[in-house]
Subunit: 226 residues, 2 copies
DNA sequence: GGTCCTCCCTACCATTTAGTATTTATATTT
DNA sequence: AAATATAAATACTAAATGGTAGGGAGGACC
């Protein structure tokens, strides 16, 4: 106590220790999120208890509360990851210089990659109602922007002739439905790889949306079965 | 009061009174199911309490238990209605004499009609886990049959040339995803009528699946918006 | 009028589960 | 090595909610 242990002694590398700790903490937090997302996705948000999540991780429930202050925050984080994927796809599409249809497919591919990714295998976005009102408003608004951007992409395609005449609003709901429904049936142990699925779906979307007289009519080389 | 209005008037059809009672009971049961299905669909099964359902109907909770022995039975009934719609569509498709693609569209249209119908606006089929094990097995098995039939319809179309080469399994997941996702966004108060939606989606599915060189390449006469 | 029978409601119970208070172990710093 | 801060476990609280028991109101039939 003769000397207050503050400044001089902690100076050498006080930051690194803190950094390592923070890094570990960050990783643990992510592990919690990953497990929770997977469980929420498989069994539903309300059907998954915090004890369930904890037991999968081999820890006890209060531990989870060191990383997320509530179950709802966990759900909120899941929603954000999913929306991050959507926005990443939109950014990719914006960066690509091509037709509206091409942009749309680039976007949807990226979005699907997120869905298949460990973390992005995120909760069916249905459960907006379980969120805290403030978070809900946030999620709804952000999702609305993503939806609108999807619609705009399709409208662009219709305008430049790469997409056949259609109602962009309905066409976007069509495309997003296909993609959003994936978590409902996809299982890692299933017969198809994410790549096969993305390939097939992209091809189906392309042929579904492409303008009838489109110059290059792509179709995935499907494996004939019989 | 001199004459009890009972006997004479009731005598002619004593059975009718009983019938009316049963009929009333049946109607009440249906009302419960309708309200519950709507609530489950909107807010999720687990987020909807029996008190919620009861209060919408203006009755008390125990009353519900006169028509359904448990909340899970209510969910089971919802699943059955949805599957009834699917099977009705399959029957319609089987009765139609045409290409695989035509059959598929007939089936999916009927299925969508069910989804838009008051009652068929049924719970996202996701919540299989909330069912009693026995019911769950039943639902899973029946759904698997419907899924398989959908796949078969597509395989038929591929075989007869009305549908382009593709993996029938993935194509069926594609088509069912579009349709199953509808309850997630459709609202009666929305801008589009069920007919418009069905028309658009059918057109998108047709052009998405039809064989490239298909003789009659249909495209819905979309209303050009601008 | 008396007796069912049907229906529904007011409590109530029991279970599940989100979240917390308190204690114990672990690692880091001086 | 002592001290401190962090992390995690045990044991608990409180609220929500599925489901039930028992009673009361009203019509139907003798």
């Amino acid at each position: 106590m003769s000397d207050t242990p503050s400044a001089a002694t902690r100076a050498p590398a006080p930051g690194r220790a803190a950094f390592d700790r923070d890094e570990q903490r960050r990783r643990k937090r992510e592990a919690v999120l990953r497990v929770a997302a997977s469980a929420f996705n498989r069994r539903g948000f309300a059907n998954t208890s915090m004890d369930d999540v904890a037991s999968v991780l081999g820890v006890s429930k209060p531990t989870l509360y060191q990383y997320f202050k509530s179950k709802q925050e966990l759900l909120y984080a899941c929603h954000q990851v999913a929306m991050d994927n959507g926005e990443a796809g939109l950014a990719l599409a914006a960066a690509h210089d091509g037709t509206g249809l091409e942009k749309l497919i680039i976007y949807l591919r990226r979005y699907m990659e997120g869905i298949f990714g460990d973390l992005g295998n995120c909760p069916v976005l249905t459960d907006v109602d379980s969120l805290v009102p403030e978070d809900r408003a946030n999620v709804v608004a952000r999702r609305k922007r993503i939806s609108a951007a999807t619609k705009e992409l399709i409208a662009l395609g219709v305008a430049d002739g790469s997409i056949g005449p259609c109602d962009p609003k309905l066409a976007s709901l069509f495309a997003l439905g296909v993609v959003n429904w994936i978590p409902a049936w996809y299982r890692d142990s299933g017969p198809n790889t994410p790549e096969e699925i993305m390939e097939s779906f992209a091809a189906l979307l392309i042929s579904g949306l492409a303008a009838p007289a489109a110059p290059k009519r792509q179709r995935a080389k499907a494996k004939p079965k019989a």
